[in-house]
């Protein structure tokens, strides 16, 4: 189980690092566009589409597994203090398993969407140029799938009482 947690942690951390790379790339791309536009009147047609499809999408979905593994999703903690430890642990397990189920359904649904965009070869027409967007539809599938696995691991981890609080990440 510990090996499983460690492996999942490494993979999700890697994806989170890709999210961080997307943050830096987005910043660099937008700044370059602003500087070139103001100094040389050169503007990239592709900036808005690139930011929206290839930086924002990985940044939003790839780190989900890591966030779930660290137990950092926003939730209402009103009753946490009032619950006895055993009940709190039980609640953690149920919540993690429900979340895993929801991520499973999201993975399945977005997979269908990704495949349909792949089959159609979805693109945006920017002037005369085709800007292919279909690969970006696969990113949510990957993010949701890993988040689901992370929740499952967190649930099992809490059920077996391996880690006292949040699963190690």
């Amino acid at each position: 189980m510990i090996t499983l947690v460690t492996t999942a942690s490494k993979i999700s951390r890697l994806l989170a690092i890709l999210g961080a790379v997307a943050v830096l790339a987005m910043m660099g791309h937008i700044c370059l566009d602003v500087v070139l536009r103001n100094l040389f009147s050169i503007s990239f047609d592709v900036t808005n589409a690139m930011v929206a499809r290839y930086y924002m999408v990985p940044l939003a979905f790839l780190p989900l597994g890591w966030i779930e593994l660290r137990g950092e999703m926003v939730s209402v903690e009103l009753v946490d203090g009032a619950l006895p430890p055993a009940l709190l642990r039980g609640s953690d397990v149920v919540v993690a398993l429900i979340a895993a189920g929801i991520y499973g359904v999201l993975t399945w649904a977005t997979w269908g969407n990704a495949m349909s965009n792949y089959t159609r070869g979805t693109f945006l027409l920017l002037g005369e140029t085709r800007f292919y967007t279909w690969p970006s539809y696969g990113v949510p599938v990957l993010g949701f799938a890993l988040a689901g696995v992370a929740c499952l691991i967190r649930g099992i981890d809490r059920a077996l009482g391996i880690t006292p609080g949040k699963a190690s990440a």
Binding site: P63, V76, S91, I98
Partner: protein, 434 residues
């Protein structure tokens, strides 16, 4: 039947939230189940398949991670410490000068950060030990910074305002300008509270003097220079139309990194921590946004928004009654909910009603952010209070901070009343833009 489904959905959502299901998961689960009940499985899967990508793949929303990065870099490189030093030297002759300085420093930090948590944490580390050392009652010192931190989300840039602007389909720059008015009024309100406490409870805030030499002021000015350069850079960039409000986030983040590097404050750890926090906050925020978008569709299909609209019209509620209801709902939600969750859960219900009633959505956005920020310092779940507890645990308990916050909460409620009574406090600057 469909309106009943809407009501049942809202009820189930509240139960799931209380059962500790993450806000995003609760929203997605209820929306999916609700749409299945209303129109069947296939449309529900269609919503589930398309909404996550459609919501996130947004140029406008790119400002959120960029402004987050800017604030986190400013925080982790300690660029904001000089603000407090300078303010306390300038305001040293005022009663309660240290506390007032911390409020001004929070306002300055707010101009480069969109998060009240970062603002409270940054100022708490610096100002609370100094105030306690000067003889301030620790609960009041901690309460002052917990409240002062809320200014971080009021004075632009503000992450809450960007998210609101996207959902309400209103001008983010106008909401930002409205935030300046309420942010400054809040800061002045907090300063007034400190002066009143100095006058009537000198045991809480003792008079204290600071010996100042010319060198001290020069050193303080030097340390605040990077942040002033950044604020001027952002202001000129926007006013001279060099970059748009959306691009301002990226330019601000880049500017902060460059200025911190030039000032010798940037290291690998600061960059890594800033990126890490940006990624975690963005990911957990956007998935709530995805859930809220699905919830909006569910409520639309159920006809609940229309039903509430008709009810408000039929009940002949005055503007004042409507505002009282909305204020009470947000204050109640703020006691136990995190602001982004509370914002995104309520907007699908309130926005159609307010549009119908002809209420300015710019003004409402600013008011909502203020109400949500009050929730950051109210028990039992007051995030700013928890942050302050974390950075000042050797001085105060959580309960003592909640007590210390009370005078500032009174000022907050007076600010809310003022903004509802005189909308021009918020709308003056946005109106100048039109």
């Amino acid at each position: 039947m469909s309106v009943e489904t809407g009501f049942i959905g809202v009820g189930i959502l509240l139960v799931l939230l209380l059962l500790r299901l993450p806000v995003a998961m609760a929203l997605i689960m209820v929306s999916f189940g609700g749409v299945v009940a209303l129109v069947g499985v296939t449309p529900a899967i269609g919503i589930l398949a398309g909404t996550p990508y459609d919501f996130v793949a947004s140029w406008t929303l790119s400002a959120v991670p960029m402004f987050l990065l800017m604030g986190f870099v400013a925080y982790y490189t300690g660029m904001t410490g000089g603000l407090f030093d300078l303010a306390k030297l300038m305001l040293r002759k005022l009663p309660g000068g240290l506390a007032i300085s911390s409020i001004f420093a929070c306002s300055g930090f707010a101009a480069v950060s969109g998060s009240s948590l970062a603002c409270a944490a940054a100022m708490g580390r610096i100002a609370i030990p100094e105030m306690v050392q000067a003889g301030y009652r620790p609960s009041l010192a901690a309460g002052c910074i917990a409240a002062g931190g809320t200014i971080g989300a009021l004075i632009p840039p503000s992450i809450l305002m960007i998210i609101y602007g996207v959902f309400a389909e209103t001008s983010i720059i106008e909401v930002f300008l409205g935030g300046v008015g309420i942010g400054l009024l809040t800061a002045l309100g907090y300063c007034a509270v400190i002066l009143v406490i100095c006058r009537f409870r000198p045991d809480l805030i003792p008079s204290h003097t600071i010996d100042v030499g010319v060198g001290d002021i020069r050193a303080a000015l030097k340390s605040v220079l990077p942040i002033m350069v950044l604020i001027v850079f952002m202001f000129l960039g926007l006013v001279l139309d060099i970059f748009s409000a959306t691009e301002a986030g990226a330019m601000g983040a880049f500017g902060t990194i460059v200025i911190a590097g030039v000032a010798g404050r940037l290291d690998r750890e600061a960059i890594w921590q800033s990126l890490l926090e940006t990624v975690i906050t963005t990911g957990s925020l956007f998935i709530i946004g995805v859930g809220a978008m699905m919830f909006t569709r569910f409520l639309g299909l159920s006809g609940l928004s229309g039903f509430i609209n008709s009810w408000v019209a039929g009940a002949d509620l005055s503007y004042l009654h409507l505002m009282i209801i909305i204020v009470l709902v947000y204050l109640a939600l703020g006691t136990f909910m995190e602001p982004f969750g509370a914002l995104l859960i309520t907007l699908p219900v309130f926005l159609p009603v307010l549009r119908d009633q002809g209420v300015s959505l710019v003004w409402f956005g600013v008011l909502v952010v203020k109400l949500l920020e009050i929730g950051m310092i109210t028990p039992p779940v007051g995030m700013n209070v928890f942050v302050i507890k974390n950075v000042a645990q050797k001085y105060v308990t959580t309960a003592q901070i909640f007590v210390g916050v009370i005078p500032f909460l009174i000022a907050d409620l007076l600010v809310v009343v003022a903004v509802i009574a005189v909308p021009a406090i918020v709308l003056y600057l946005p109106d100048l833009l039109r």
